[in-house]
Symmetry: C2
Subunit: 409 residues, 2 copies
């Protein structure tokens, strides 16, 4: 048994939303074990359990202290993992559920968004050596005082990748209700094509618009340890998408997919005196308020005055304006404008910036559709435009066709 | 803070069944702390949570292995304790929830009915020393391997009493939806009177008919360590009943209450050869099958043949007959009769057996009502009769009046 490879599987909340789906997942795990593979499973809370627990907390507390919220929410994954272990035993697969504590997942003390410090997987290895499939409650760990913590957004994905690394697993397999990584959102462009594989960096850029497939934090961790991650559906047997950095990667230097995001609000500070320290004065307080600033663009200076534009999530717009207004006033800026009717579209592909013509073709395609570009930013593997929210879908479809993303590689 | 007495409170599932009741319990705890008392609270799962989790388990597993059931059910008390700690903080009471593991409750490995081996209350004491109210998930502990166990029926009551003993608490206060210990069931006899206090042994005899007030296992543990236990309602401020063995106890040697039980099935083995070892041959296999035998009566021997009668819970009747029939046949007994239309009524009071007249008055009262007595057994503080099920209520009312239990002490 000891020589067989270890696979860490992760099943999301929708995959275990009710008893029938839990039994379905148990059958999938049983099949995965058939060739002798040793399987460790990380599971999220069933369907709406976490939301239901949060609603209860809101009814008893206006403050909802983070330590107690972590203790409360950890129960959701404990329930799912125990039920899945039972369902496995019911079909003849020896299985055992472990909490984050029992699985040896140690974190820092930052409740509700803890980071994993280390994993002491002795208990997991012991149970695998006994021939058992080990089911681990995702999203949770413990501090050195044995207080329960949760890992925050994407926590179960991060649990799974971290456990795969600690167990020297051959791969991590992440199952959810989508079949893999697509060239773009199939709800917008029906010809969107599922990718057979994709590199870590491209995955990060594609995932940044919506973390449902695999949380960016988990992608970064997998990248750091070069762990292959398969993302696939728990409802079908269709092959998924392999995220990896190996030699079988598809040709680089080409467009791989189009990401989009409706959650964009823009703030423009006009007539900013062009002197050192202005950006720090503005963005320091925003960071202190835990507001994530996305795109930042500063226009060329004219008469020693410049326009500074940045985007934030729509939810953060009001707080951002409250923070920025007095600062803008202090530094002598002319005025502030805000716009929420915006969306973001990104063309992603390795090395695009080094290959002439991609940006030009992208801008021409949008112009042919009569779409006006509000802002442009680029990274090594991405060209992003901010456009009108109402034109995002049209832009996605036009770019998908222009870059022939529906064609098989 | 250190010099203040510690009180352990226990709130049952009905007391924390929804958000409003949890907030109500939080306000009660806040009042209890007002004089500086250090409060530790043991809490059960909310209302139907445990039943809901069992129903889920039944949908995924026909076998429901005990280790995984314990892991599953432990989540119910974790949820309730975290919510109660939040509700306390919301009204300005510094509070922290602890799981059975964090509270240092170590048990044996008998899942679903574990026994507490010891409690290492260091973490609890540390938190009390910080001025915090400590909320502990009842019903659960851990093995030396840190596997979660549950304590079985009456588990949260036992958690509370054991914690009170380990913490050298001044008392344990057990809150539920009944106001205390009554002279008999108020639903049968409206003149039933709540007792101000009662001894451990009397409580055990009264509670044996229904363990809703305080589980017998918890009573026995309190008795062993002479820990006073107050039972009272969490919905009113009415004074409850103090269970204790102290000097302020009400006069002994008098009737204190009447217990009854409808869950009685009788098995009579007729024509049993009167020789040593027969009882062992019968009751050993029943004990091995975990069937609890209540009353045992053996009639006087006649022609070296005797009739042996015993009672079990109605649920256990069929299995008991299956076990007993071949044994009765082996030992040459004549036949077996079973009767399920029976009930049990007990008159309870310290030292009754040493005080002439109680039994006679009991039997005369029943005779005056035309009630036929099927079996009689007695202990030092109890006289029990088995009668027709249909006559139990009449018997309870008649005895309550005959022994003037409605009168204030």
């Amino acid at each position: 048994m000891n020589g067989q490879p270890i696979i860490v599987q992760k099943y999301g909340g929708s995959s275990v939303a009710d008893a029938e789906r839990i039994r379905n997942v148990a059958r999938r795990i049983a099949r995965r074990r058939a060739d002798g593979t040793r399987v460790v499973v990380v599971v999220s809370a069933m369907g709406d359990t976490t939301d239901d627990l949060i609603a209860l907390a809101q009814q008893v507390s206006s403050t909802r202290p983070a330590r107690e919220m972590d203790a409360l929410l950890s129960a959701g994954e404990i329930i799912a993992s125990a039920l899945l272990a039972m369902a496995l035993q019911d079909i003849g697969v020896d299985a055992i559920s472990l909490t984050g504590l029992q699985a040896g997942i140690r974190t820092d003390r930052v409740h509700s968004k803890a980071r994993i410090l280390n994993i002491e997987p002795r208990r997991i290895v012991d149970e695998l050596d006994r021939g058992r499939t080990v089911i681990i409650a995702g999203f949770q760990g413990v501090t050195s005082e044995l207080d329960v913590t949760t890992l925050g957004r994407g926590g179960s994905d991060t649990s799974a990748v971290a456990l795969a690394i600690a167990l020297h697993a051959a791969a991590c397999e992440r199952f959810t209700d989508v079949e893999g990584v697509f060239t773009t959102d199939p709800r917008i462009e029906p010809r969107a094509r599922k990718l057979r594989d994709i590199g870590y960096e491209e995955m990060l850029e594609l995932a940044s618009a919506g973390s449902k497939i695999l949380h960016p934090r988990a992608v970064e961790l997998a990248w750091l340890y070069n762990l292959p991650v398969l993302v696939a559906s728990s409802f079908t047997d269709a092959p998924g998408t392999l995220i990896h950095g190996g030699p079988s990667m598809e040709p680089a230097n080409k467009a791989r997919g189009i990401a989009h995001d409706y959650d964009v609000a823009k703030i423009t500070i006009r007539g900013v005196p062009d002197r050192p320290g202005i950006a720090a004065a503005l963005f320091g307080p925003l960071a202190d308020a835990a507001i994530s600033v996305d795109t930042i663009v500063q226009n060329a200076s004219l008469d020693n005055l410049t326009d500074l534009t940045f985007t934030v999530a729509k939810n953060d717009l009001q707080r951002s304006l409250e923070i920025v207004r007095p600062i803008a006033s202090d530094i002598g800026a002319r005025d502030i404008a805000a716009d929420t009717n915006l969306g973001k579209v990104s063309l992603v592909g390795t090395g695009m910036q080094n290959t002439p013509g991609y940006a030009a073709r992208m801008f021409r395609t949008l112009a042919d559709q009569g779409i006006n570009i509000d802002l442009i930013t680029t990274s090594e593997i991405r060209i992003t435009v901010i456009i009108k929210e109402s034109e995002v879908e049209k832009a996605v479809r036009a770019l998908h066709a222009a870059f022939e993303l529906d064609r098989e590689d």
